[in-house]
Point group: C2
Chain length 227, copies 2
């Protein structure tokens, strides 16, 4: 199993924001902490599964799209050989080849079916067979979602375990935890893509916070509309 950093980032940001959105929405609606935990965990597990399933479908769709394009290219090579040969000629002319050397290159490339198709895929269509297994993408998202999405719930769990109902205080810790999580995810991203770590942390913190604030406003606003 390989954890893909982009899918992990996707899952972890979504996990933190949505679980926090539940917490913030329920706080806005002034419901007891038991409801916060019910809905928070329901979101954590269910949305985690939902996202993993959606990721799997989307990753699979992308792979299937590339396979479909490959089949199209195979058909074109079998049925419109001369036209496809001309496309290889144009691709290598573009790279700086000409005259006899260009013809030699076209001859070699088009003499092996696999090389010919690979070249068309990469150079004409800009598609590379993705080596990412949809299952790995999906699990990466799920792990990120649940690991980071658990954070907003921890303070409410702790207060419930020690037997006190201090939702206001738990909410403050929840906010702090979520902010720290956003910053950390941003930092990890910065390390992987070799950009400024602090700036990357702040950037992710801002984006995540905006989404979380929208959640709180919507939850509170809808509540005051109905009551």
């Amino acid at each position: 199993m390989k954890i893909h950093f982009d899918d992990f980032i996707y899952g972890s940001i979504d996990g933190a924001v949505t679980t926090f959105a539940i917490v913030a929405g329920v706080m806005g609606a002034s419901l007891p902490s038991a409801i916060i935990l019910i809905l928070g965990f329901a979101n954590l597990f269910a949305d985690g599964v939902a996202m993993a399933a959606a990721n799997y479908q989307a990753s699979k769709a992308r792979n299937e799209f590339i396979q479909m394009k490959r089949k199209q290219e195979e058909w074109e090579i079998d049925n419109l050989g001369e036209q496809e040969r001309e496309e290889i000629r144009n691709i290598y002319r573009e790279k700086g080849f000409k005259d006899e050397l260009l013809e030699d290159v076209v001859r070699i490339i088009t003499s092996k079916r696999k090389v010919w198709i690979d070249t068309m895929m990469k150079e004409e269509l800009g598609l590379i067979e993705d080596e990412k297994d949809p299952m790995h993408s999906s699990v990466s998202t799920f792990v990120g979602f649940n690991l980071v999405g658990l954070i907003p719930l921890i303070p409410f769990m702790v207060f419930m375990i020690i037997g006190i109902e201090l939702n206001g205080e738990a909410f403050v810790y929840s906010i702090a935890g979520v902010c720290a999580a956003f910053f950390l995810v941003g930092m990890i991203k910065g390390i992987i893509v070799k950009k400024s770590i602090i700036r990357s942390g702040i950037y992710t913190l801002i984006i995540g916070s905006v989404a979380a604030i929208v959640a709180y406003i919507v939850g509170y606003g809808l509540n005051s509309l109905i009551h």
Copy 2:
């Protein structure tokens, strides 16, 4: 603005499952329909924003990763030219070139810096600069999420507007609506990747339903644990 089908699929499945998860979770906890709508809409808007933000971050991270790799290749060409030239030689030997022709190809490819780097990126690393604008990916997800994610809430809205509280019946319509939505998304996927439309519809319906059932069980199970 370009709508990307894979991001749309990702958003729409996640939107339908998570909004339905809220509905199912609240039904399991026997709360009034006002709460269902508060939390459903809070999820719809907030999770839509969350997912769009997470998608934007993940897409951007992927693009930045490719840019970082490109910079590495640029550095290697400038500092380890002979080694990189040998890699080009191996890549084209693999394609079937040899002797003098191979040397001519290596000479032409490495004579233009951009062609050289592009070749290393595509052939050695299997990376193609993604033409996908992170903003387009993000909006595609958001549109899918909100369009399809609204479906589970419609029955509860309709019953509330006509002034009757029939959560049980609304829930049945909600289930039917979500199933139809999964099937439709699967069919759209099938059309795009040119696979069996019915099979694709059923497949997405199954995956979505499993996630939705997990949500209901978790919501109901946690509720009975706490009360």
